[in-house]
């Protein structure tokens, strides 16, 4: 078993989760509290990756980011960034693929906080960012945790997208799901079992943590 594969997978999952958390909180806040008419467009686009088959998503990403086409060419020539067959490309793909899981979890968290919390805090003269930081986010720890956990496990299990835009390059894009597939094709069933079992174990542990925290939420006593 190649530990580089595991390390790469964890790196991908952690980066995706972290970046989505940073993007997700302000976006989910806007989606929950805004009343602009074009909000529905944003909601639709955000939710797309849930219904889109991963291979379709991967295909479009390959198409748009390929250095043969204008966007990929632009990124390559002017910014030196390649988004196909690179780790960076995987992160972008994972972010898009897991986008709705993070956003919707956090949005649910915001929506479950009564409006009166906002009013009380606003009436005390606090700015929106202070309110988000000190009042809202601490009150929705469960939702944030759910979003992170879903994103993390979703990324670890990602296959279709990575198959399309990854290229199975060791140390770069050979993550555990791809390596598993690879080993099966090479008839290395023993190694395949190792990879499978570790994936299963990680998923189990992650879900276990989520459910135990659910029943005993973060509390200062």
């Amino acid at each position: 078993m190649d530990f580089e594969v595991i390390f790469l997978t964890l790196k991908l999952a952690l980066m995706t989760t972290f970046i989505l958390l940073c993007i997700g909180i302000p976006l989910a806040y806007w989606l929950n509290y805004s009343s602009r008419k074009w909000k529905v467009w944003v909601e639709t686009i955000v939710s797309l990756p849930i219904v889109l088959p991963p291979t379709v998503l991967g295909f479009y990403l390959l198409f748009f980011f390929s250095p043969e086409n204008w966007l990929g060419k632009f990124l390559d020539q002017y910014l030196g960034i390649r988004l196909v067959f690179t780790f960076t490309g995987l992160v972008i793909g994972s972010i898009i693929y897991s986008f709705p899981f993070m956003i919707q979890s956090i949005r649910t968290g915001f929506s479950q906080i009564p409006k009166s919390y906002m009013h009380e805090a606003l009436v005390l003269g606090k700015s929106k960012w202070v309110i988000i930081r000190k009042i809202l986010l601490p009150s929705m720890k469960n939702s944030i945790l759910t979003g992170c956990v879903l994103t993390f496990s979703h990324t670890i299990g990602e296959f279709g997208v990575i198959l399309m835009i990854g290229g199975n390059i060791p140390g770069e894009t050979r993550v555990i799901s791809i390596a598993l597939f690879d080993e099966v094709e090479k008839l290395n069933y023993h190694t395949a079992h190792m990879y499978s079992a570790s994936l299963l174990l990680v998923s189990f542990i992650v879900l276990f943590i989520v459910y135990s925290k659910r029943n005993n939420p973060f509390r200062k006593k």
Partner: protein, 244 residues
């Protein structure tokens, strides 16, 4: 402006965190993977500082990836067409070199007498072949089936695998009764297999080429040469390939 610059910032941040390796990346058709690994043992002995990453898949898929900018240095295909198509895509450094001819075999993990096999027999339910659209061995298998006149009748039994690797997996795990694969998977092993007579399919002429991504570095050049050395030819024969 603020949004755009943070977007670019995020991209660069991610790019900085990924670590591209300066090694030789070889894209190899699935049927050649095992043989190549053995050849590389000798290759790495010549210069122990060299690191070689091997990415195996069906020739067609590798072609598509390379055409879309995949960062491979050398392409070892299972045919000549794909490397030649890459020349048209301006991805090739130098010429396409034919290094061997492949041998099509039948292989089974079940207790079947392959030399007396009757394809149309209803007791054979599933037959694995590589996808003829993307794998030269699959194409050869279809040729054989058509020439022997059974293709139309047994079409429904065919299970299309996405590469020779997957064909082997299907055969090994016995989810199929038998399949068409390459000789290299059974070479030197006590397995139940039978070679398909060459007259039934056009020769599987396998070619390789250096890719422009290698920027003509000397390791890639050396690898191509090493693939044509006597050492390499001996190993290829061992795996059932025919050398000119």
């Amino acid at each position: 402006m603020n949004f755009k610059s943070s977007l670019i910032g995020i991209l660069l941040f991610i790019a900085a965190c990924s670590s591209p390796k300066k090694t030789v990346k070889v894209a190899v058709a699935a049927n050649m993977e095992t043989a190549l690994q053995e050849i590389l043992i000798g290759f790495k002995k010549e210069d122990t500082s060299v690191k070689v990453d091997v990415i195996a898949s069906s020739s067609g898929k590798l072609f598509a990836q390379i055409a879309n900018g995949a960062p491979f240095d050398v392409f070892i295909s299972a045919d000549l067409e794909y490397p030649q198509k890459l020349i048209k895509e301006k991805k090739v450094q130098g010429k396409v070199i034919e290094y061997a001819q492949g041998t099509l075999i039948l292989w089974s993990k079940k207790n079947i007498n392959l030399s007396a096999i009757y394809f149309l027999d209803s007791k054979y339910e599933k037959i694995a072949i590589a996808n003829p659209e993307t794998a030269p061995y699959g194409k050869a298998a279809v040729e054989y089936l058509k020439k022997t006149g059974v293709y139309e009748k047994i079409k429904s039994k065919l299970v299309f695998a996405e590469s020779i690797g997957q064909v082997n997996h299907f055969i090994e795990s016995q989810v199929v009764d038998f399949g068409f694969t390459t000789s290299s998977v059974v070479a030197g092993k006590k397995e139940n297999w039978m070679e398909i007579d060459q007259k039934y399919y056009s020769p599987i002429r396998q070619g390789m080429c250096q890719l422009i991504h290698s920027k003509n570095d000397e390791v890639s050049v050396r690898l191509i040469q090493f693939m044509q050395s006597d050492n390499a030819k001996k190993i290829l024969s061992k795996y059932g390939y025919k050398i000119n």
